[in-house]
Amino acid sequence: MFKLLNQSPISARIGLAIVVINIVAALFAPLIAPFGETEVVGDVWLPMSFDHLLGTDQLGRDLFTRILYGARNTIAIAFVTTLLSFVVGIVGGFLAATLKGWTDLALSRIVDVMMAIPILIFALTVLSVVGTSMVALILVIALLDSTRVYRLSRAVAMDIEALDFVEAARLRGEKIWWLMRHEILPNAMPPLVAEFGLRFCFVFLFIAALSFLGLGIQPPTADWGSMVRENAGAITFGIFIPLWPAGAIAFLTVGVNLIVDWFLHVASGLKD
Protein backbone atom coordinates (compact mmCIF):
# COMPACT_ATOMS: atom_id res chain seq x y z
CA MET A 1 0.00 0.00 0.00
CA PHE A 2 2.71 2.45 1.05
CA LYS A 3 4.92 1.28 -1.78
CA LEU A 4 2.14 2.01 -4.22
CA LEU A 5 1.69 5.44 -2.67
CA ASN A 6 5.42 6.14 -2.99
CA GLN A 7 5.33 5.36 -6.69
CA SER A 8 2.24 7.46 -7.31
CA PRO A 9 2.62 10.44 -9.59
CA ILE A 10 2.30 13.97 -8.24
CA SER A 11 -1.20 14.40 -9.70
CA ALA A 12 -2.54 11.43 -7.72
CA ARG A 13 -0.96 12.78 -4.54
CA ILE A 14 -2.60 16.15 -5.06
CA GLY A 15 -5.91 14.37 -5.62
CA LEU A 16 -5.44 12.34 -2.46
CA ALA A 17 -4.58 15.45 -0.44
CA ILE A 18 -7.71 17.20 -1.72
CA VAL A 19 -9.94 14.29 -0.80
CA VAL A 20 -8.35 13.97 2.66
CA ILE A 21 -8.83 17.70 3.33
CA ASN A 22 -12.49 17.39 2.37
CA ILE A 23 -13.05 14.30 4.50
CA VAL A 24 -11.41 15.93 7.52
CA ALA A 25 -13.53 19.05 7.01
CA ALA A 26 -16.65 16.91 6.75
CA LEU A 27 -15.91 14.74 9.80
CA PHE A 28 -14.68 17.44 12.15
CA ALA A 29 -16.80 20.37 10.98
CA PRO A 30 -18.25 21.12 14.45
CA LEU A 31 -14.73 21.11 15.97
CA ILE A 32 -13.03 23.26 13.32
CA ALA A 33 -15.84 25.67 12.63
CA PRO A 34 -15.64 28.90 14.63
CA PHE A 35 -19.44 29.39 14.66
CA GLY A 36 -22.67 27.36 14.50
CA GLU A 37 -24.12 26.07 11.22
CA THR A 38 -27.03 28.52 11.11
CA GLU A 39 -25.73 31.13 13.54
CA VAL A 40 -26.04 34.74 12.40
CA VAL A 41 -22.81 36.43 13.40
CA GLY A 42 -22.60 39.77 11.66
CA ASP A 43 -23.66 41.97 8.82
CA VAL A 44 -24.60 40.73 5.35
CA TRP A 45 -21.79 39.97 2.87
CA LEU A 46 -18.93 41.18 5.06
CA PRO A 47 -15.56 41.06 3.31
CA MET A 48 -12.84 38.59 4.32
CA SER A 49 -11.33 39.37 7.70
CA PHE A 50 -9.57 37.68 10.58
CA ASP A 51 -12.88 37.08 12.36
CA HIS A 52 -14.62 35.78 9.28
CA LEU A 53 -12.04 34.04 7.11
CA LEU A 54 -14.19 34.05 3.99
CA GLY A 55 -16.60 36.81 4.97
CA THR A 56 -20.32 36.33 5.66
CA ASP A 57 -23.24 35.19 3.51
CA GLN A 58 -26.58 36.73 2.50
CA LEU A 59 -27.99 36.40 6.03
CA GLY A 60 -24.82 37.34 7.87
CA ARG A 61 -23.69 33.79 8.64
CA ASP A 62 -19.99 32.97 8.68
CA LEU A 63 -19.14 31.59 5.22
CA PHE A 64 -16.16 29.52 6.35
CA THR A 65 -18.36 27.74 8.89
CA ARG A 66 -21.06 27.17 6.28
CA ILE A 67 -18.53 25.69 3.86
CA LEU A 68 -17.27 23.27 6.51
CA TYR A 69 -20.77 22.12 7.40
CA GLY A 70 -21.61 22.12 3.69
CA ALA A 71 -18.79 19.61 3.14
CA ARG A 72 -20.45 17.39 5.69
CA ASN A 73 -23.96 17.53 4.20
CA THR A 74 -23.11 17.64 0.52
CA ILE A 75 -20.48 14.90 0.56
CA ALA A 76 -22.48 12.64 2.88
CA ILE A 77 -25.61 12.85 0.76
CA ALA A 78 -23.72 12.29 -2.49
CA PHE A 79 -21.88 9.35 -0.94
CA VAL A 80 -25.03 7.67 0.35
CA THR A 81 -26.72 8.20 -3.02
CA THR A 82 -23.80 6.71 -4.94
CA LEU A 83 -23.65 3.75 -2.58
CA LEU A 84 -27.35 3.08 -3.02
CA SER A 85 -27.04 3.43 -6.77
CA PHE A 86 -24.21 0.87 -6.77
CA VAL A 87 -26.13 -1.62 -4.65
CA VAL A 88 -29.13 -1.44 -6.99
CA GLY A 89 -27.04 -1.37 -10.17
CA ILE A 90 -24.70 -4.19 -9.18
CA VAL A 91 -27.46 -6.51 -7.97
CA GLY A 92 -29.43 -5.82 -11.16
CA GLY A 93 -26.43 -6.20 -13.44
CA PHE A 94 -25.20 -9.39 -11.80
CA LEU A 95 -28.68 -10.90 -11.81
CA ALA A 96 -29.03 -10.14 -15.52
CA ALA A 97 -25.64 -11.68 -16.25
CA THR A 98 -26.13 -14.86 -14.22
CA LEU A 99 -29.81 -15.54 -14.90
CA LYS A 100 -29.79 -14.35 -18.53
CA GLY A 101 -32.98 -14.97 -20.52
CA TRP A 102 -36.06 -12.97 -19.58
CA THR A 103 -34.55 -11.30 -16.53
CA ASP A 104 -31.73 -9.91 -18.62
CA LEU A 105 -34.03 -8.85 -21.44
CA ALA A 106 -36.54 -7.13 -19.18
CA LEU A 107 -33.95 -5.31 -17.05
CA SER A 108 -31.91 -4.23 -20.05
CA ARG A 109 -34.90 -2.82 -21.94
CA ILE A 110 -36.04 -0.85 -18.88
CA VAL A 111 -32.53 0.55 -18.49
CA ASP A 112 -32.40 1.44 -22.22
CA VAL A 113 -35.54 3.53 -21.91
CA MET A 114 -34.40 5.21 -18.72
CA MET A 115 -31.06 6.07 -20.27
CA ALA A 116 -32.70 7.56 -23.35
CA ILE A 117 -34.20 10.35 -21.22
CA PRO A 118 -31.77 13.06 -20.17
CA ILE A 119 -31.18 12.49 -16.46
CA LEU A 120 -31.71 16.12 -15.42
CA ILE A 121 -35.10 16.32 -17.14
CA PHE A 122 -36.16 12.97 -15.69
CA ALA A 123 -35.12 13.99 -12.19
CA LEU A 124 -36.86 17.38 -12.43
CA THR A 125 -40.09 15.75 -13.60
CA VAL A 126 -40.09 13.16 -10.83
CA LEU A 127 -39.18 15.72 -8.16
CA SER A 128 -42.02 17.98 -9.30
CA VAL A 129 -44.44 15.20 -8.46
CA VAL A 130 -42.94 13.69 -5.30
CA GLY A 131 -41.69 16.96 -3.84
CA THR A 132 -38.18 17.89 -2.83
CA SER A 133 -37.59 15.99 0.40
CA MET A 134 -34.13 14.68 1.15
CA VAL A 135 -35.23 11.03 0.98
CA ALA A 136 -36.98 11.54 -2.36
CA LEU A 137 -33.89 13.27 -3.71
CA ILE A 138 -31.57 10.42 -2.70
CA LEU A 139 -33.90 7.69 -3.98
CA VAL A 140 -34.62 9.37 -7.33
CA ILE A 141 -31.00 10.13 -8.13
CA ALA A 142 -29.79 6.73 -6.93
CA LEU A 143 -32.32 4.97 -9.11
CA LEU A 144 -31.56 7.06 -12.19
CA ASP A 145 -27.83 6.70 -11.70
CA SER A 146 -28.02 2.95 -11.09
CA THR A 147 -28.82 2.49 -14.81
CA ARG A 148 -25.21 3.42 -15.64
CA VAL A 149 -23.88 1.09 -12.93
CA TYR A 150 -26.15 -1.65 -14.25
CA ARG A 151 -24.65 -1.41 -17.75
CA LEU A 152 -21.10 -1.69 -16.46
CA SER A 153 -21.67 -4.42 -13.89
CA ARG A 154 -23.68 -6.48 -16.38
CA ALA A 155 -20.89 -6.26 -18.96
CA VAL A 156 -18.19 -7.11 -16.41
CA ALA A 157 -20.21 -9.96 -14.89
CA MET A 158 -20.93 -11.40 -18.36
CA ASP A 159 -17.19 -11.80 -18.91
CA ILE A 160 -16.56 -13.36 -15.50
CA GLU A 161 -19.61 -15.57 -15.63
CA ALA A 162 -18.21 -17.34 -18.71
CA LEU A 163 -15.07 -18.45 -16.83
CA ASP A 164 -14.47 -21.98 -15.64
CA PHE A 165 -14.46 -21.36 -11.89
CA VAL A 166 -17.99 -19.98 -12.05
CA GLU A 167 -19.09 -23.02 -14.01
CA ALA A 168 -17.41 -25.21 -11.39
CA ALA A 169 -19.22 -23.43 -8.56
CA ARG A 170 -22.45 -23.78 -10.46
CA LEU A 171 -21.93 -27.53 -10.89
CA ARG A 172 -21.20 -27.74 -7.17
CA GLY A 173 -24.77 -26.60 -6.77
CA GLU A 174 -24.11 -23.14 -5.32
CA LYS A 175 -27.04 -20.77 -5.17
CA ILE A 176 -27.22 -17.66 -7.32
CA TRP A 177 -26.57 -15.23 -4.44
CA TRP A 178 -23.50 -17.20 -3.42
CA LEU A 179 -22.21 -17.10 -7.00
CA MET A 180 -22.73 -13.36 -7.21
CA ARG A 181 -21.14 -12.67 -3.83
CA HIS A 182 -18.18 -15.05 -3.81
CA GLU A 183 -17.30 -15.65 -7.44
CA ILE A 184 -18.30 -12.63 -9.49
CA LEU A 185 -18.10 -9.67 -7.08
CA PRO A 186 -14.42 -10.08 -6.01
CA ASN A 187 -13.32 -10.36 -9.63
CA ALA A 188 -15.40 -7.41 -10.74
CA MET A 189 -13.97 -5.10 -8.07
CA PRO A 190 -11.30 -3.08 -9.96
CA PRO A 191 -13.54 -1.63 -12.71
CA LEU A 192 -16.35 -1.10 -10.21
CA VAL A 193 -14.11 0.81 -7.80
CA ALA A 194 -12.92 3.15 -10.55
CA GLU A 195 -16.50 3.59 -11.68
CA PHE A 196 -17.48 4.41 -8.10
CA GLY A 197 -15.14 7.40 -8.16
CA LEU A 198 -16.54 8.63 -11.46
CA ARG A 199 -20.17 8.05 -10.48
CA PHE A 200 -19.56 9.81 -7.16
CA CYS A 201 -18.31 12.87 -9.04
CA PHE A 202 -21.31 12.76 -11.32
CA VAL A 203 -23.82 12.35 -8.48
CA PHE A 204 -22.07 15.02 -6.46
CA LEU A 205 -22.19 17.52 -9.33
CA PHE A 206 -25.75 16.53 -10.11
CA ILE A 207 -26.99 17.11 -6.55
CA ALA A 208 -25.09 20.39 -6.48
CA ALA A 209 -26.82 21.40 -9.72
CA LEU A 210 -30.26 20.48 -8.37
CA SER A 211 -29.58 22.37 -5.13
CA PHE A 212 -28.41 25.28 -7.21
CA LEU A 213 -31.75 25.19 -9.03
CA GLY A 214 -33.42 25.27 -5.60
CA LEU A 215 -34.78 21.75 -5.99
CA GLY A 216 -32.19 19.74 -4.08
CA ILE A 217 -31.12 20.08 -0.48
CA GLN A 218 -33.30 22.71 1.18
CA PRO A 219 -32.19 25.59 3.46
CA PRO A 220 -31.22 26.21 6.20
CA THR A 221 -29.06 23.07 5.82
CA ALA A 222 -25.64 24.24 4.67
CA ASP A 223 -24.96 22.82 1.21
CA TRP A 224 -22.56 24.05 -1.43
CA GLY A 225 -25.01 24.08 -4.34
CA SER A 226 -27.70 26.02 -2.50
CA MET A 227 -25.07 28.37 -1.04
CA VAL A 228 -24.15 29.39 -4.58
CA ARG A 229 -27.80 29.99 -5.36
CA GLU A 230 -28.51 32.00 -2.21
CA ASN A 231 -25.50 34.24 -2.69
CA ALA A 232 -25.72 34.55 -6.48
CA GLY A 233 -27.00 38.12 -6.25
CA ALA A 234 -23.75 39.23 -4.60
CA ILE A 235 -21.77 38.83 -7.77
CA THR A 236 -23.41 41.76 -9.54
CA PHE A 237 -22.18 43.97 -6.68
CA GLY A 238 -18.64 42.80 -7.29
CA ILE A 239 -18.66 40.52 -4.22
CA PHE A 240 -17.35 37.11 -5.18
CA ILE A 241 -18.86 35.10 -2.33
CA PRO A 242 -20.70 32.53 -4.53
CA LEU A 243 -17.37 31.54 -6.07
CA TRP A 244 -16.22 29.99 -2.76
CA PRO A 245 -18.83 27.20 -2.49
CA ALA A 246 -18.78 26.72 -6.28
CA GLY A 247 -15.00 26.45 -6.12
CA ALA A 248 -15.26 23.96 -3.25
CA ILE A 249 -17.40 21.72 -5.48
CA ALA A 250 -14.90 21.96 -8.33
CA PHE A 251 -11.98 21.35 -5.92
CA LEU A 252 -13.36 18.05 -4.64
CA THR A 253 -14.36 16.71 -8.07
CA VAL A 254 -10.92 17.53 -9.50
CA GLY A 255 -9.38 15.65 -6.56
CA VAL A 256 -11.52 12.56 -7.06
CA ASN A 257 -10.91 12.60 -10.82
CA LEU A 258 -7.15 12.76 -10.33
CA ILE A 259 -7.27 9.67 -8.09
CA VAL A 260 -9.54 7.81 -10.50
CA ASP A 261 -7.18 8.57 -13.39
CA TRP A 262 -4.28 7.15 -11.45
CA PHE A 263 -6.29 4.12 -10.30
CA LEU A 264 -7.32 3.34 -13.89
CA HIS A 265 -3.71 3.70 -14.94
CA VAL A 266 -2.50 1.26 -12.26
CA ALA A 267 -5.38 -1.17 -12.79
CA SER A 268 -4.78 -1.30 -16.54
CA GLY A 269 -1.19 -2.35 -15.82
CA LEU A 270 0.30 0.25 -18.16
CA LYS A 271 3.81 1.48 -17.49
CA ASP A 272 4.92 4.91 -18.61
Binding site: I117, A246, T253
Partner: protein
Protein backbone atom coordinates in the same frame (compact mmCIF):
# COMPACT_ATOMS: atom_id res chain seq x y z
CA UNK B 1 -26.79 0.96 -50.35
CA UNK B 2 -29.54 -1.42 -49.35
CA UNK B 3 -27.87 -2.46 -46.12
CA UNK B 4 -27.43 1.17 -45.08
CA UNK B 5 -31.09 1.94 -45.71
CA UNK B 6 -32.05 -1.09 -43.66
CA UNK B 7 -29.78 -0.10 -40.78
CA UNK B 8 -31.04 3.47 -40.79
CA UNK B 9 -34.68 2.40 -40.93
CA UNK B 10 -34.14 0.00 -38.07
CA UNK B 11 -32.53 2.72 -35.98
CA UNK B 12 -35.30 5.24 -36.75
CA UNK B 13 -37.92 2.64 -35.86
CA UNK B 14 -36.20 2.02 -32.56
CA UNK B 15 -36.10 5.75 -31.90
CA UNK B 16 -39.84 6.06 -32.52
CA UNK B 17 -40.60 3.17 -30.16
CA UNK B 18 -38.40 4.82 -27.51
CA UNK B 19 -40.30 8.09 -27.95
CA UNK B 20 -43.66 6.38 -27.47
CA UNK B 21 -42.42 4.50 -24.43
CA UNK B 22 -41.07 7.73 -23.00
CA UNK B 23 -44.33 9.60 -23.50
CA UNK B 24 -45.92 6.73 -21.56
CA UNK B 25 -43.29 7.05 -18.84
CA UNK B 26 -43.99 10.76 -18.47
CA UNK B 27 -47.71 10.12 -18.36
CA UNK B 28 -47.77 7.02 -16.15
CA UNK B 29 -45.03 8.38 -13.91
CA UNK B 30 -47.22 11.29 -12.92
CA UNK B 31 -50.25 9.01 -12.80
CA UNK B 32 -48.87 6.20 -10.67
CA UNK B 33 -47.54 8.41 -7.94
CA UNK B 34 -49.35 8.32 -4.64
CA UNK B 35 -52.05 10.86 -3.92
CA UNK B 36 -54.38 12.71 -6.19
CA UNK B 37 -53.13 15.63 -8.24
CA UNK B 38 -56.22 17.69 -7.48
CA UNK B 39 -55.99 17.15 -3.72
CA UNK B 40 -52.26 17.75 -3.84
CA UNK B 41 -52.69 21.14 -5.48
CA UNK B 42 -55.70 22.36 -3.55
CA UNK B 43 -54.27 21.31 -0.20
CA UNK B 44 -55.82 19.25 2.58
CA UNK B 45 -58.37 21.82 3.63
CA UNK B 46 -60.15 21.92 0.27
CA UNK B 47 -63.86 21.07 0.23
CA UNK B 48 -64.74 17.75 -1.43
CA UNK B 49 -66.90 19.61 -4.00
CA UNK B 50 -64.02 21.87 -4.98
CA UNK B 51 -61.75 18.88 -5.40
CA UNK B 52 -64.40 17.17 -7.52
CA UNK B 53 -64.86 20.22 -9.74
CA UNK B 54 -61.12 20.59 -10.10
CA UNK B 55 -60.79 16.95 -11.03
CA UNK B 56 -63.37 17.52 -13.77
CA UNK B 57 -61.46 20.51 -15.03
CA UNK B 58 -58.22 18.50 -15.18
CA UNK B 59 -60.20 15.64 -16.77
CA UNK B 60 -59.00 13.42 -13.93
CA UNK B 61 -62.42 11.72 -13.84
CA UNK B 62 -61.85 10.02 -17.20
CA UNK B 63 -60.12 6.61 -17.34
CA UNK B 64 -56.31 6.77 -17.72
CA UNK B 65 -55.97 5.40 -21.26
CA UNK B 66 -58.51 7.92 -22.60
CA UNK B 67 -56.56 10.70 -20.94
CA UNK B 68 -53.25 9.40 -22.26
CA UNK B 69 -54.43 9.38 -25.85
CA UNK B 70 -56.09 12.79 -25.62
CA UNK B 71 -52.92 14.17 -23.98
CA UNK B 72 -50.68 12.60 -26.63
CA UNK B 73 -53.06 13.65 -29.44
CA UNK B 74 -53.02 17.20 -28.14
CA UNK B 75 -49.24 17.06 -27.88
CA UNK B 76 -48.93 16.12 -31.56
CA UNK B 77 -51.11 19.06 -32.57
CA UNK B 78 -49.20 21.45 -30.33
CA UNK B 79 -51.99 21.69 -27.78
CA UNK B 80 -50.53 20.99 -24.36
CA UNK B 81 -53.48 22.01 -22.20
CA UNK B 82 -53.43 24.87 -19.69
CA UNK B 83 -50.96 25.80 -17.03
CA UNK B 84 -52.16 25.23 -13.48
CA UNK B 85 -50.35 28.28 -12.16
CA UNK B 86 -51.88 30.95 -14.38
CA UNK B 87 -54.40 29.12 -16.56
CA UNK B 88 -52.74 30.19 -19.80
CA UNK B 89 -52.36 27.71 -22.66
CA UNK B 90 -49.02 25.94 -22.27
CA UNK B 91 -48.34 26.17 -26.00
CA UNK B 92 -48.13 29.99 -25.70
CA UNK B 93 -45.64 29.69 -22.87
CA UNK B 94 -43.51 27.08 -24.56
CA UNK B 95 -43.27 28.14 -28.21
CA UNK B 96 -41.25 31.32 -27.73
CA UNK B 97 -39.09 29.80 -25.01
CA UNK B 98 -38.26 26.73 -27.03
CA UNK B 99 -37.05 28.90 -29.91
CA UNK B 100 -34.92 30.90 -27.43
CA UNK B 101 -33.35 27.73 -26.05
CA UNK B 102 -32.61 26.44 -29.54
CA UNK B 103 -31.17 29.84 -30.52
CA UNK B 104 -28.80 29.73 -27.55
CA UNK B 105 -27.81 26.11 -28.17
CA UNK B 106 -27.23 26.67 -31.88
CA UNK B 107 -25.14 29.81 -31.32
CA UNK B 108 -22.98 27.89 -28.86
CA UNK B 109 -22.69 24.99 -31.31
CA UNK B 110 -21.74 27.31 -34.17
CA UNK B 111 -18.74 28.48 -32.14
CA UNK B 112 -17.85 25.26 -30.36
CA UNK B 113 -17.98 22.74 -33.21
CA UNK B 114 -15.46 24.22 -35.68
CA UNK B 115 -13.05 25.35 -32.95
CA UNK B 116 -13.01 22.02 -31.19
CA UNK B 117 -12.56 20.01 -34.40
CA UNK B 118 -9.63 22.19 -35.46
CA UNK B 119 -8.06 22.09 -31.99
CA UNK B 120 -8.64 18.34 -31.82
CA UNK B 121 -6.83 17.84 -35.13
CA UNK B 122 -3.97 20.06 -33.94
CA UNK B 123 -3.75 18.09 -30.70
CA UNK B 124 -3.50 14.86 -32.68
CA UNK B 125 -0.86 16.43 -34.91
CA UNK B 126 1.27 17.60 -31.99
CA UNK B 127 0.73 14.64 -29.67
CA UNK B 128 2.23 14.79 -26.17
CA UNK B 129 3.32 18.38 -26.68
CA UNK B 130 2.58 21.16 -24.24
CA UNK B 131 -0.47 22.10 -26.31
CA UNK B 132 -1.80 18.54 -26.13
CA UNK B 133 -1.33 18.46 -22.38
CA UNK B 134 -3.10 21.78 -21.96
CA UNK B 135 -6.06 20.30 -23.77
CA UNK B 136 -6.23 17.25 -21.55
CA UNK B 137 -6.01 19.52 -18.48
CA UNK B 138 -8.88 21.59 -19.87
CA UNK B 139 -10.92 18.44 -20.37
CA UNK B 140 -10.32 17.35 -16.81
CA UNK B 141 -11.42 20.72 -15.48
CA UNK B 142 -14.55 20.96 -17.58
CA UNK B 143 -15.75 17.54 -16.48
CA UNK B 144 -14.99 18.47 -12.88
CA UNK B 145 -16.35 21.99 -12.69
CA UNK B 146 -20.04 22.52 -12.20
CA UNK B 147 -21.47 24.58 -15.08
CA UNK B 148 -22.53 27.36 -12.77
CA UNK B 149 -18.96 27.74 -11.48
CA UNK B 150 -17.72 28.44 -15.02
CA UNK B 151 -20.71 30.73 -15.56
CA UNK B 152 -20.10 32.80 -12.43
CA UNK B 153 -16.38 33.11 -13.10
CA UNK B 154 -17.11 34.46 -16.59
CA UNK B 155 -19.77 36.73 -15.15
CA UNK B 156 -17.38 38.03 -12.50
CA UNK B 157 -14.71 38.69 -15.11
CA UNK B 158 -16.59 39.96 -18.13
CA UNK B 159 -19.64 41.66 -16.71
CA UNK B 160 -18.57 42.85 -13.25
CA UNK B 161 -14.83 43.60 -13.52
CA UNK B 162 -14.78 44.60 -17.18
CA UNK B 163 -18.25 45.81 -17.97
CA UNK B 164 -18.52 44.41 -21.51
CA UNK B 165 -21.42 41.99 -21.46
CA UNK B 166 -24.70 41.97 -19.52
CA UNK B 167 -24.98 39.50 -16.62
CA UNK B 168 -28.69 39.07 -17.28
CA UNK B 169 -29.44 37.80 -20.76
CA UNK B 170 -32.88 39.21 -21.34
CA UNK B 171 -33.95 39.05 -24.96
CA UNK B 172 -37.17 39.97 -26.72
CA UNK B 173 -38.53 40.07 -30.24
CA UNK B 174 -37.86 43.77 -30.73
CA UNK B 175 -34.11 43.26 -30.56
CA UNK B 176 -31.97 42.96 -33.68
CA UNK B 177 -29.85 39.87 -34.20
CA UNK B 178 -26.69 41.71 -33.16
CA UNK B 179 -28.30 42.93 -29.95
CA UNK B 180 -29.53 39.42 -29.21
CA UNK B 181 -26.08 37.95 -29.80
CA UNK B 182 -24.57 40.54 -27.49
CA UNK B 183 -27.14 39.72 -24.81
CA UNK B 184 -26.52 35.98 -24.95
CA UNK B 185 -22.75 36.22 -25.24
CA UNK B 186 -21.98 35.04 -21.71
CA UNK B 187 -24.32 32.03 -21.57
CA UNK B 188 -23.16 31.12 -25.05
CA UNK B 189 -19.49 31.29 -24.05
CA UNK B 190 -20.15 29.20 -20.93
CA UNK B 191 -21.88 26.48 -22.94
CA UNK B 192 -19.10 26.57 -25.53
CA UNK B 193 -16.44 26.05 -22.88
CA UNK B 194 -18.41 23.26 -21.26
CA UNK B 195 -18.84 21.17 -24.44
CA UNK B 196 -15.64 22.02 -26.29
CA UNK B 197 -13.23 19.89 -24.28
CA UNK B 198 -15.23 16.74 -24.83
CA UNK B 199 -15.47 17.26 -28.59
CA UNK B 200 -11.75 18.07 -28.85
CA UNK B 201 -10.81 14.93 -27.01
CA UNK B 202 -13.03 12.74 -29.15
CA UNK B 203 -11.67 14.26 -32.35
CA UNK B 204 -8.13 13.76 -31.11
CA UNK B 205 -8.80 10.16 -30.04
CA UNK B 206 -10.53 9.31 -33.33
CA UNK B 207 -7.66 10.68 -35.40
CA UNK B 208 -4.93 9.11 -33.29
CA UNK B 209 -6.76 5.81 -33.55
CA UNK B 210 -6.65 6.00 -37.32
CA UNK B 211 -3.03 7.18 -37.43
CA UNK B 212 -2.06 3.70 -36.21
CA UNK B 213 -3.46 2.00 -39.33
CA UNK B 214 -1.22 0.67 -42.15
CA UNK B 215 -2.47 3.00 -44.89
CA UNK B 216 -1.31 5.99 -42.87
CA UNK B 217 2.06 4.31 -42.48
CA UNK B 218 2.06 3.96 -46.26
CA UNK B 219 1.26 7.63 -46.76
CA UNK B 220 4.06 8.50 -44.35
CA UNK B 221 6.52 6.30 -46.23
CA UNK B 222 5.53 7.99 -49.48
CA UNK B 223 6.87 11.13 -47.82
CA UNK B 224 3.64 13.12 -47.60
CA UNK B 225 3.51 16.07 -45.24
CA UNK B 226 1.93 15.42 -41.82
CA UNK B 227 -0.79 18.02 -42.19
CA UNK B 228 -1.78 16.54 -45.56
CA UNK B 229 -1.89 13.03 -44.09
CA UNK B 230 -4.10 14.13 -41.26
CA UNK B 231 -6.49 16.34 -43.19
CA UNK B 232 -6.85 14.28 -46.38
CA UNK B 233 -6.15 10.71 -45.25
CA UNK B 234 -7.01 10.40 -41.59
CA UNK B 235 -9.84 12.89 -41.12
CA UNK B 236 -12.32 11.44 -43.66
CA UNK B 237 -12.16 8.11 -41.89
CA UNK B 238 -12.44 9.73 -38.49
CA UNK B 239 -15.53 11.60 -39.63
CA UNK B 240 -17.96 9.03 -38.33
CA UNK B 241 -16.99 9.19 -34.64
CA UNK B 242 -16.54 12.95 -34.90
CA UNK B 243 -20.03 13.52 -36.32
CA UNK B 244 -21.37 11.24 -33.66
CA UNK B 245 -19.78 13.20 -30.84
CA UNK B 246 -20.90 16.51 -32.34
CA UNK B 247 -24.54 15.39 -32.44
CA UNK B 248 -24.30 14.01 -28.92
CA UNK B 249 -22.94 17.31 -27.72
CA UNK B 250 -25.72 19.22 -29.43
CA UNK B 251 -28.15 17.07 -27.46
CA UNK B 252 -26.17 17.89 -24.35
CA UNK B 253 -26.24 21.62 -25.22
CA UNK B 254 -30.02 21.74 -25.40
CA UNK B 255 -30.43 19.96 -22.07
CA UNK B 256 -27.36 21.44 -20.36
CA UNK B 257 -28.74 24.87 -21.12
CA UNK B 258 -31.20 24.42 -18.22
CA UNK B 259 -28.68 25.44 -15.57
CA UNK B 260 -27.05 28.15 -17.67
CA UNK B 261 -30.46 29.66 -18.42
CA UNK B 262 -31.16 29.89 -14.69
CA UNK B 263 -27.78 31.53 -14.00
CA UNK B 264 -28.28 34.20 -16.65
CA UNK B 265 -32.07 34.49 -16.21
CA UNK B 266 -32.47 33.68 -19.90
CA UNK B 267 -36.11 33.23 -21.01
CA UNK B 268 -35.68 29.68 -22.30
CA UNK B 269 -37.51 26.41 -21.89
CA UNK B 270 -35.14 25.23 -19.15
CA UNK B 271 -35.97 28.22 -16.98
CA UNK B 272 -39.67 27.51 -17.50
CA UNK B 273 -39.17 23.86 -16.53
CA UNK B 274 -37.32 24.76 -13.33
CA UNK B 275 -39.91 27.40 -12.38
CA UNK B 276 -42.75 24.98 -13.01
CA UNK B 277 -41.09 22.27 -10.94
CA UNK B 278 -40.83 24.59 -7.94
CA UNK B 279 -44.43 25.74 -8.47
CA UNK B 280 -45.43 22.09 -9.02
CA UNK B 281 -47.23 23.09 -12.20
CA UNK B 282 -47.36 19.49 -13.38
CA UNK B 283 -48.88 19.90 -16.88
CA UNK B 284 -46.15 22.39 -17.83
CA UNK B 285 -43.48 20.08 -16.39
CA UNK B 286 -44.89 17.15 -18.35
CA UNK B 287 -45.02 19.11 -21.60
CA UNK B 288 -41.61 20.74 -21.37
CA UNK B 289 -40.03 17.55 -20.05
CA UNK B 290 -41.40 15.63 -23.00
CA UNK B 291 -40.19 18.29 -25.44
CA UNK B 292 -36.69 18.17 -23.94
CA UNK B 293 -36.71 14.37 -24.09
CA UNK B 294 -37.92 14.46 -27.70
CA UNK B 295 -35.21 16.90 -28.81
CA UNK B 296 -32.60 14.87 -26.95
CA UNK B 297 -33.69 11.55 -28.42
CA UNK B 298 -34.01 13.00 -31.93
CA UNK B 299 -30.47 14.37 -31.79
CA UNK B 300 -29.14 11.09 -30.44
CA UNK B 301 -30.96 9.34 -33.25
CA UNK B 302 -29.43 11.78 -35.74
CA UNK B 303 -26.01 11.01 -34.26
CA UNK B 304 -26.46 7.30 -34.86
CA UNK B 305 -27.90 7.69 -38.34
CA UNK B 306 -25.17 10.11 -39.41
CA UNK B 307 -22.45 7.86 -38.11
CA UNK B 308 -23.92 4.94 -40.02
CA UNK B 309 -24.17 7.00 -43.21
CA UNK B 310 -20.72 8.56 -42.87
CA UNK B 311 -18.96 5.27 -42.17
CA UNK B 312 -16.97 4.60 -45.36
CA UNK B 313 -16.93 0.86 -44.74
CA UNK B 314 -20.71 0.78 -44.83
CA UNK B 315 -20.98 3.23 -47.70
CA UNK B 316 -18.91 1.11 -50.09
CA UNK B 317 -19.96 -2.46 -49.41
CA UNK B 318 -18.08 -5.23 -51.17
Amino acid sequence: MDSIAKLVLKRVGMGLVTLIVISLVFFVGVEALPGDLAEEILGQNALPETVEAFRKELKLDLPPHVRYFSWLGGFMKGDFGNSLANGRPIADLIGWRLSNTLFLALSAAAIAVPISIILGILAALYRNSLFDRAISMATLSTISFPEFFVAYILMALLSVQLIIFPSISNINDQMSLAEKLHAIFLPCLTLTLVVMAHMMRQTRAAIINILASPYIEMAKLKGLRRLRIIVLHAFPNALSPVINVVALNLAYLVVGAVIIEVVFVYPGLGQLLVDSVSKRDIPVVQASGLIFATVYITLNLAADVLSIVSNPRLRNPR
